[in-house]
């Protein structure tokens, strides 16, 4: 472990990827994540890596596809409109089973939206923004340190599963500075060989990386294999955090930046004896439904409140996990607006007093 350093979220993501052995970055500028490509253009040549500013996000994700095909650890980053363009490539990466790190510092939408932070790309990230039956691991960090740790983890998980992994941040996480400690650096030269990588046969058998299966039987077999992999991810990759949920009657469910704001709000309420807790999904796909389920089965929780910087996306997964046993309320701000701890306190209080039955922020 290194020293504690003060670093901007966007730069820390880049450094974490490099520490994880990633030496290739392909991207296209977009606010609020420009510090990632800027950092990588400076830093990668120092470690023998390659930075390419692509002509578009479409090109960038396809460069990642080619680079991953060669067996290298590769990444791209963008923000919402750019991630929409990357969906084609993400679907192909999944279809051809190629690893990649993709970072989305979400901004408000739809369309060009705003450059302010949001969480409105949750559906796109966890439900499959591109075509076909595929899944990507999605992490939702809530601090710069956690973004570093999850980015580092993501690079390894991507190789492990031969599947892209998405780190979902937002404009706040990307722009804020916090002290971070970086994990030990991985030497890419020491990583295990990838026998499937297309580097030229060099005396060996022919390798093919492909997502086309013209015969439907074969395409279904391919899909079965992919689904088996996604089932394994769903069984082993769930991550979450709980705060003061043991005796909580109302549990707020929030991830990323919003979870942090909620935590501040809930601490204030706890000091005044209000029985509230926080459930924070860290893996957004797979969603940590069993943990939430166990919380509800504990019998103390009377209702859930999902809080998001969106018009209500993650709340659908919360409802699925709750299976109608307790009411699930929603509070959201959208379009780049960030909820304040006081808003959350007021909303929780109103709910506990039986007032706002299902009054969302929108």
């Amino acid at each position: 472990m290194d020293e504690l350093v003060l670093m901007k979220g966007n730069e820390a993501v880049g450094e974490a990827a490099i520490r994880a052995g990633c030496r290739f970055f392909f991207g296209y500028p977009i606010t609020p994540q420009n510090e990632i490509p800027e950092y990588m253009s400076r830093r990668l040549p120092e470690v023998g890596g390659v930075f390419v500013q692509a002509e578009s996000e479409l090109a960038a994700i396809n460069m990642v596809y080619g680079c991953a095909a060669a067996g290298a650890r590769a990444m791209t980053s963008s923000s919402s409109p750019g991630i929409s363009l990357k969906q084609e490539g993400i679907s192909y990466l999944c279809g051809s089973e190629l690893p990649a790190l993709i970072v989305n510092m979400i901004r408000g939408g739809p369309g060009l939206g705003t450059i302010q932070p949001a969480q409105s790309d949750y559906f796109q990230a966890v439900k499959g923004g591109g075509h076909g039956d595929y899944r990507v691991l999605v992490y939702g960090p809530a601090s710069v340190q956690e973004m570093v740790d999850l980015t580092y983890l993501a690079v390894g998980r991507a190789d492990h599963y031969r599947n892209p992994v998405l780190v979902l941040g937002d404009g706040i996480l990307g722009q804020m500075m916090e002290p971070v400690r970086f994990p030990a650096a991985v030497d890419p030269a020491g990583l295990p060989e990838k026998p499937w990588a297309t580097n030229g046969r060099r005396g060996g058998p022919k390798r093919l990386l492909n997502s086309l299966y013209l015969e439907p039987e074969k395409c279904e077999d391919h899909n079965r294999e992919l689904q088996a992999k996604y089932c394994e991810m769903a069984a082993t990759e769930k991550r979450w955090e709980t705060v003061a949920t043991e005796d909580a009657e109302l549990v707020v469910v929030a991830y990323g930046t919003t979870a942090r704001i909620c935590r501040t709000g809930l601490e204030g309420l706890r000091e005044r004896g209000v029985p509230v807790g926080l459930f924070r999904p860290i893996s957004l796909w797979p969603f940590p439904d069993e943990a939430l389920d166990a919380l509800i089965e504990g019998g103390k929780v009377r209702s859930l409140l999902a809080v998001e910087m969106s018009a209500g996306q993650m709340v659908e997964d919360v409802r699925l996990a709750a299976r109608g046993r307790v009411p699930v309320h929603f509070y959201g701000r959208a379009g780049g607006m960030v909820p304040q701890p006081e808003e959350i306190q007021e909303h929780v209080r109103a709910l506990l007093e039986g007032g706002a039955a299902n009054a969302g922020g929108l």
Binding site: A54, M63, G66, A74, G200, N210
Partner: protein, 260 residues
């Protein structure tokens, strides 16, 4: 007994799905022979397009990657940047390369990526059933230009070599019709030069092969070849456009300066 004609070992020993009279087969052969002659088969990686030649990934016996429609030059860029010692080529049709993939093509060229692009211009979308391509000629009837391509309605066909000719980063650029033994011999020499350009690290290389699509054009194979020679070459003049890297110069016609 002397062997006069053989399947290049860089091509897999399997039947292809191409229609009778289609020149995709000749183009495959030229690429395969070149990989052998230059002794680079073992470090070659091909990028297959989306189009009739998508299954090129089965026919070429080297390592192969299938790319999304039009993105082959971007995929090749990522691969070549990760493995500069690999010999990377894309094989693309006109819809793949000059329509949906135009941005990826021009930018790979402008970055001077050391890759080889084999461009099959058959003036039509073969795979999807004969729709208009960016290279469909004026007056040409296709299933989406049923009245014949008319500039006021469908715009003008794109001349890829003429477009790339002035892009700095391009080191080799040629257009050859795949119509007669003499032309195929010329095409072989151009394909070879396009791979040599990559091996010498000179920059981006592209060979445009004027090809026939008897099925898409609704012509018997021989007539289709004649149409390439007599009609296509009028609008797409064959020849070498660039043989060396360097600045092709800019500015208005007649005043173009060219510096090395």
């Amino acid at each position: 007994m002397r062997v006069a004609f053989e399947r290049p070992s860089a091509l897999a020993d399997i039947p292809t799905h191409y229609c009778p009279g289609c020149t995709h087969g000749i183009a495959h052969r030229l690429v395969a022979e070149t990989l052998e002659e230059l002794k680079v088969f073992d470090r070659a990686v091909g990028i297959a397009p989306v189009g009739c030649s998508v299954l090129a990934y089965n026919y070429f016996d080297c390592d192969m990657v299938q790319a999304a429609h039009g993105r082959a030059p971007a995929v090749a860029t990522g691969l070549k940047r990760a493995r500069p010692d690999a010999v990377v080529f894309t094989y693309q049709g006109d819809g793949d390369l000059a329509s949906i993939g135009m941005a990826e093509l021009v930018h790979a060229a402008a970055r001077g990526e050391c890759i080889t692009v084999v461009f099959i211009n058959n003036a039509i979308y073969g795979m999807t059933g004969g729709q208009m391509a960016p290279t469909t000629l004026l007056g040409q009837h296709t299933s989406t230009s049923p009245a014949g391509r008319e500039p006021g309605r469908e715009g003008f066909p794109i001349r890829v070599c003429e477009l790339l000719e002035r892009v700095r980063g391009v080191a080799y650029l040629a257009r050859i019709p795949l119509t007669s033994p003499a032309n195929v011999a010329r095409a072989r020499s151009s394909v070879r030069k396009a791979f040599q350009t990559q091996l010498e690290g000179k920059g981006f290389a592209l060979v445009e092969l004027l090809s026939s699509c008897p099925t898409g054009w609704g012509m018997p194979p021989r007539e289709a070849l004649r149409w390439v020679d007599e009609v296509m070459t009028e609008y797409y003049p064959p020849g070498e456009f660039r043989t060396e890297p360097g600045d092709p110069g800019g500015g208005p016609a007649g005043k173009r300066g060219s510096q090395p």
